[in-house]
């Protein structure tokens, strides 16, 4: 495939990334603001011989993902806030059964039914497991349509690398905005990717059981120890972006679409003579604690900006602990932000 530029929505970029990333089975239930993803895949995935199925519920769709993942396929579902809450049981089972899966959350305002406007209110849910029991999902937070495409491809590789659910955490801004992307990956399917552990029927080998029930003495401990090590190993895949951080006096920490908007704010403030940089975590779990701490050691001041009432700021505080503090600016869920919204809070850091 020659690199091809396309003008698409963030949601479509996720769907195209899924196709080029080798998704074989996609199950989902409609919810705004992510319905472009199932609509795109219902049209395009079936042409490639993949499975598209609109499930009766969010709960059914995540469990269909569980089944297809157990069968060794690249399986995916997508939703937004309220739908992701319904999927949490299944995500916990997928983590407990050590299965790979990609789950997309295009966040909307909450709590409750909330609204369809942008929000980053599901940060805690995404980065702390979200369902019952002691587990984590790997969380990738794109900030552009190109990253929606790139990170969805990467999400499948990471899900299979760690045999763990990987979440793409976007939001309504990202899902609905349109910009050019370069489609660089050619779809290829490795039928033997999961051959060492997946269910195929036991021909030629012993029975395999994929489960999360651990009743035998010591087995629950053993699983949790294994998972803990796995989450530690994931730190080798931590991603983040530093934007004009080197000479910055004030560093704004922001992720996803807000991270991108804050970069525009930083450019504006630079033109007024303020030395502002942006630290943007791309993996939210594992969080780039060490990387942010290294920046803090250089004597910067910090402000954390989120489209919620204060969630990632707790991780920022953990990263900075003992070195310095961070200010926090809450951009309320439901608000569509502009770079101007963040000028005053950052300017105040210089007073």
């Amino acid at each position: 495939m020659s690199s091809k530029k396309l003008l698409v929505k963030g949601n479509e970029a996720v769907a195209i990334g899924a196709i080029d990333g080798g998704v074989e089975c996609y199950f989902a239930y409609p919810i705004t603001p992510q319905s472009d993803i199932p609509e795109y895949l219902s049209r395009e995935l079936v042409k490639l011989g993949g499975t598209f199925l609109q499930a009766e519920s969010e709960i059914a769709s995540i469990n269909m993902v569980l089944g297809a993942a157990a069968a060794g396929k690249r399986a995916m579902t997508s939703s937004s806030g309220p739908g992701i809450s319904l999927k949490q049981e299944g995500i916990s089972y997928i983590a407990g059964s050590e299965l790979p899966a990609v789950i997309v959350n295009m966040m909307r305002g909450g709590p409750g039914l909330g609204g369809i406007q942008p929000s980053q209110g599901d940060y805690f849910q995404a980065t702390r497991g979200g369902g019952h029991g002691d587990y984590r999902t790997m969380v990738l937070a794109p900030s552009t349509c190109q990253e929606c495409y790139d990170l969805t491809i990467e999400a499948f590789d990471l899900a299979f690398k760690y045999r763990n659910p990987v979440m793409i955490l976007g939001d309504a801004i990202l899902g609905q905005m349109k910009e050019p992307i370069v489609r660089w990956k050619e779809r290829s399917i490795d039928p033997n990717e999961a051959i060492k552990w997946c269910l195929t029927g036991k021909k030629g080998r012993k029975q395999r059981i994929i489960k999360s029930l651990r009743l035998e003495e010591g087995s629950m401990e053993a699983l949790n120890e294994k998972l803990m090590k796995k989450y530690k190993d994931m730190e080798q895949d931590i991603k983040w972006e530093e934007f004009m951080v080197e000479d910055a006096e004030v560093v704004a920490v922001a992720f996803g679409s807000i991270g991108r908007i804050v970069k525009s704010t930083a450019r504006k403030l630079r033109s007024k003579g303020y030395k502002v940089g942006v630290f943007r975590p791309i993996t939210l779990f594992p969080f780039p604690y060490k990387q942010l701490r290294e920046v803090a050691k250089k004597g910067k001041r910090f402000i954390t900006i989120e489209n919620n009432t204060g969630q990632m700021v707790e991780d920022v505080r953990l990263a900075l602990c003992g070195i310095c503090e961070t200010e926090f600016f809450a951009n309320m869920p439901g608000k569509v932000s502009t770079p101007e919204d963040f000028i005053e809070p950052i300017e105040n850091m210089f007073k």
Binding site: A60, N63, G67, K202
Partner: protein
């Protein structure tokens, strides 16, 4: 001295593991496991079968039947089975669920799986009570039946009526086979065996969804002896849950 030649006329099904059972004395799960294993052997499905386990007493199915298995969350076995079958259409996919799992928390999943006509087979064990959790009311608990959460007996005013799943599933377009059977005597066991085979054939012939409901005894939570429990299946359960075939378009 006369030479005696021995011929084995009865044996364990090939895919049934010879392991100690966790089921209580008089429980029918063991018989039903055996019938499922016999059907797997009969169609030589051992190497291509994928079993979906559920939550409740039925959860350990994968310890007894020696085929590839995945465990579903409570009630979600038909959705997991859908995922497995769509991912591997050549596999033989079946799930084994109890009444709380299938007819209460998982009612949505079973109805939609059947209605889509998924090419999967579901074995449903109805013993009118939650066994694993200690004898609470099930969606199939009979009116008047005492359980640990209906200490005065199930009352239609408070809890409504027991669900008739074989009839409900049989009414759906996507369903190719639905039957209710019992294993309380030899005659019924033979009929049950035929019903499982028919439900499996619905999948093997690509006709649609196959469903077999088993009326099953739970002496422990019914507070009856195994013999009394076996009798109750006939006297009380069959009166409300009639045995029979509710849909059959397999042949």
């Amino acid at each position: 001295m006369t030479k005696v030649s021995e011929k084995q006329v009865f044996s364990m099904p090939k895919c049934l593991n010879d392991v100690p059972t966790h089921f209580c004395p008089g429980c029918h799960h063991g018989i039903i496991h055996r019938l499922v294993a016999e059907a797997i052997d009969a169609f030589q499905l051992e190497d291509k079968a994928i079993c979906v386990g559920s939550v409740g007493c039925s959860v350990f199915i994968y310890n007894y039947i020696d085929v590839d298995s995945v465990e579903a969350p409570h009630g979600r076995a038909p959705a997991v089975a859908t995922g497995v079958k769509r991912a591997r259409p050549d596999a033989f996919v079946f799930a084994y669920q109890g009444d709380g799992d299938l007819a209460a928390i998982g009612l949505s999943e079973i109805i939609h799986c059947a209605n889509r006509g998924e090419k999967v087979s579901i074995i449903f064990v109805n013993n009118s009570v939650y066994g694993m959790t200690g004898g609470q009311m099930a969606p199939t608990t009979l009116v008047g039946q005492k359980t640990t959460t209906t200490p005065y007996g199930r009352s239609p005013q408070n809890e409504g009526y027991p669900l008739k799943m074989a009839e409900l599933i049989g009414s759906l377009e996507g369903c190719a086979f639905s039957a209710r059977v019992a294993v309380n005597n030899i005659k019924n066991i033979i009929k049950a065996k035929k019903a499982i085979k028919k439900a499996f054939l619905a999948q093997l012939k690509n006709k649609g969804f196959g469903f077999v409901e088993f009326l099953s005894a739970c002496p422990t939570n019914w507070h009856l002896t195994p013999l009394e429990a076996n009798k109750r299946v006939e006297t009380e359960m069959m009166a409300y849950f009639p045995l029979g075939i509710y849909k059959d378009i397999v042949e």
